[in-house]
């Protein structure tokens, strides 16, 4: 029987993968993927907990996250294309204009 714990563990694993991706990856596109994984990890947790408590709010929230993630990707990808056109690369190590 697959219970709440299993879902939460899956969510945690996905989230950790996302974090590692965000930290380790240098390509900005990969960073985007990693954040999407993290968002979806949260979604899994929301859906699981919502079902566990028989409360639909969690699932509604998951939908919101999906919608926001979609719009964020739309804006983010547009920016990435502009960035690529300007500098010819998406490698993070090339973008250090904020060095203090």
């Amino acid at each position: 029987m697959i219970g709440l714990t299993h879902y939460l563990v899956l969510s945690a694993i996905l989230f950790s993968l996302g974090i590692v991706g965000v930290i380790r990856r240098k390509n900005l596109l990969m960073l985007f993927f990693a954040t999407e994984i993290m968002l979806n990890a949260a979604n899994v947790a929301f859906a699981a907990i919502s079902s566990y408590y028989h409360d639909l709010s969690g699932q509604m929230f998951a939908f919101f996250i999906v919608a926001i993630a979609a719009s964020e990707v739309a804006v983010g990808l547009g920016l990435l294309i502009l960035l690529y056109k300007k500098y010819g690369t998406l490698d993070l190590d090339n973008f250090t204009m904020l060095k203090g």
Binding site: V22, I23, R24, L92, D93, T96, L98, K99, G100
Partner: protein
């Protein structure tokens, strides 16, 4: 009547604010004219109020609630009763004269507009002081006149400090600070007195306080009386807080006439007169006041005997006359003190303004040894100063005769023969030094010629402006009976005993004799020519007197120097080593840690994300721990 109170009180304030608008700009005649006119308006309103008080009775107004906190309610109220009406009339009259006079005196001064702004602000503060119906309003006025006095003594603040041997008052700013600090010391005493009153009575309104006074503990009353009197000692420059008054002569002469002779310095006497229900409950403190006043009278007169500075001589005589007033108030003859206060205001202001004319003519020279024979050039000033000196010396029928003689009678009546004798002796000294000054300035040989001075009389309108004071210096004493009837409606009547009544003619003759004697001695010594004797000037008593009993030097050695050293230690050891070091240390830690943390800002997004993740994990862990604890 209410509007008259406001007109009298606020027109000087309006004048002051108006002149302040031009404070920084070059001289404009309009400031002097407008402030003088507004002062005249205030004077007229005061006279009308006086008439109203005579015919109808006291006026009370409440402008607004001032402080309301818990049980404490202090209204911004004014009461014009008999004493206040007299004070208001005296203050506004002398102020008006001095304002008009200053138009001439300050003619060529750069700070003309500023001067009138300060002068009118002073009159406003003085009116608040005398008109307030509670101790707190009195205190506000008290501090206000202190500030204006400071501003005006230090009016020529740009003058450099010089040694005490060149100028005993060092510099205007030094003198101003001395006056202010001495008054602060005394004001602390007064403030404590006011606190005590509020703590024990629960009100600061004169009426309520004086109604409650008879039911209070005697020791407490003594304490309150002493504390209030300490405040009065500072403002009226009584020993040992007297040194500032002579140094205050650094201010422009109209200021000396108005503030340091006629009005502000009498505020202490006014306080004692106002608080008479309190002081009549504590005869021992009152007696102390009388003794101190008597001491100051002869103490100050003795310093005036040898001084060569025109204004300082008059300053010492002011000090001495304040001593007379305190003596009268201390003996319970409050109305006599008030009478002498008013008479003194007129003739002393006249004397000072006359001295101002002489200074004007002599290019600000003050040494009477360098003058002499000025009566040819300055007939009117000679007349005025002569009249004022006759009044000061207490010669019949001038104002000073009636007031001073009544003080002596009161001392005799109280069987305080010691006080009587000292005051009697002082009357002789007063006559001597006043006329020493007059003779050395206006008669005797024309010494100014060898110093290259070209004296000339002042403008006509200035002389006319002084005329009211001259008239009052002559006739004011004739109103003694009606004055007494008027003010004793409020103040306790003071009856001379049968015995004194029999003696009164003898007393008058004896007093007149010593006064005339003093004038005669001055005439013999100085009227023909100035004879200086090296031997006398080097003798010990002469040097002690001309150095003001070495008190300023003593104060410097005992108070100023150690205090400066203490401040130096506090600065270098405590402030720099402890306070500043702590503050600097905090700043240092912040700077160092910031410099270290700066290295986090690599500009690489990956590094930032690492820090973010680390922070998020840290927060999550903390949240878990916090959740586990509950």
């Amino acid at each position: 009547m209410e509007s008259l109170v406001y007109i009298a009180l606020f027109s000087p304030l309006v004048g002051s604010l108006f002149a302040a608008l031009y404070g920084m700009s070059p001289k404009r005649l309009v400031t002097g004219v407008v402030t003088s006119l507004l002062l005249f308006v205030s004077f007229v309103a005061s006279v009308m109020l006086l008439q109203h008080v005579v015919n109808v009775g006291p006026v009370r107004v409440e402008l607004m609630d001032w402080i309301v906190a818990g049980d404490m309610r202090i209204p911004f109220g004014f009461a014009v009763d008999q004493v206040t009406a007299v004070m208001m009339t005296v203050v506004t009259l002398v102020s008006t004269v001095v304002h008009v006079y200053s138009n001439g005196y300050m003619e060529h001064d750069k700070g003309f507009n500023r001067f009138f702004s300060y002068l009118s602000a002073f009159v406003f503060s003085m009116l608040v002081l005398v008109m307030s119906d509670n101790f707190l309003g009195l205190f506000i006025g008290w501090e206000g006149v202190g500030v204006c006095s400071w501003l005006l003594i230090g009016f020529w603040y740009h003058k450099e400090d010089v040694g005490r041997d060149v100028n005993p008052s060092i510099s205007p700013s030094w003198a101003a600070n001395e006056a202010f600090i001495m008054n602060r010391i005394a004001d602390l005493g007064m403030l404590v007195g006011i606190f005590l009153i509020y703590w024990n009575i629960g009100s600061l309104q004169y009426e309520e306080v004086f109604r409650a006074v008879p039911n209070l503990d005697h020791g407490l009353l003594v304490l309150i009386g002493i504390m209030l009197f300490i405040g009065a000692m500072g403002k009226s420059a009584q020993f040992p807080l007297h040194t500032w008054l002579a140094d205050a002569m650094e201010g422009p002469t109209p200021v000396s006439a108005l503030i340091h002779a006629a009005t502000m310095v009498t505020a202490g006497v006014y306080l004692v007169i106002r608080a008479n229900p309190l002081y009549s409950q504590i005869p021992e403190v009152s007696y102390f006041i009388a003794v101190l006043g008597t001491f100051v009278a002869i103490f100050a007169a003795s310093m005036a005997l040898v001084n060569r500075d025109l204004k300082r001589i008059i300053a010492y005589s002011t000090l001495s006359q304040l001593g007379y007033m305190f003596a009268a108030a201390g003996l319970g003859a409050y109305w006599v003190a008030l009478f002498h206060l008013a008479a003194h205001a007129f003739f002393k202001a006249l004397l000072f303004l006359g001295a101002g004319n002489v200074m004007h003519a002599m290019d600000d020279e003050l040494d009477i040894f360098k003058m002499g024979g000025l009566k040819k050039q300055m007939r009117w000033t000679f007349l005025y100063m002569g009249l004022a000196s006759l009044a000061l010396a207490g010669i019949w029928p001038f104002a000073g005769f009636f007031s001073k003689d009544t003080i002596l009678e009161a001392a005799f009546n109280e069987h305080s023969y010691g006080i009587w004798f000292v005051l009697w002796l002082t009357a002789g000294l007063t006559a001597f030094y006043s006329f020493r000054q007059v003779f050395l300035t206006f008669l005797s040989d024309e010494r100014y010629k060898q110093y290259g001075f070209h004296p000339h009389e002042v403008q006509k309108y200035v002389l006319w402006a002084m005329a009211p004071l001259a008239v009052l210096a002559v006739v004011f004493g004739w109103w003694k009976e009606s004055f007494m009837e008027f003010v004793t409606q409020l103040l306790p009547a003071y009856e001379m005993s049968e015995h004194t009544h029999h003696m009164v003619w003898i007393l008058i003759v004896v007093t007149m004799a010593i006064a005339l004697g003093g004038i005669a001695v001055a005439y013999v010594l100085y009227a023909k020519r100035l004879k200086r004797s090296e031997k006398i000037e080097q003798s010990l008593p002469y040097r002690v007197l001309s150095n003001q009993y070495y008190i300023p030097i003593l104060y410097e050695k005992v108070f100023s120097k150690p205090y400066a050293e203490l401040s130096d230690i506090a600065w270098k050891e405590i402030d720099l080593q402890v306070v500043d070091a702590t503050v600097d240390g905090i700043a240092h830690v912040v700077e160092e840690s910031g410099d270290g943390a700066r290295k986090m800002q690599t500009g690489n997004l990956s590094d930032y994300l690492k820090w973010m993740a680390a922070g998020a994990i840290l927060l999550a862990v903390l949240a878990v721990f916090a959740a586990l604890k509950h």
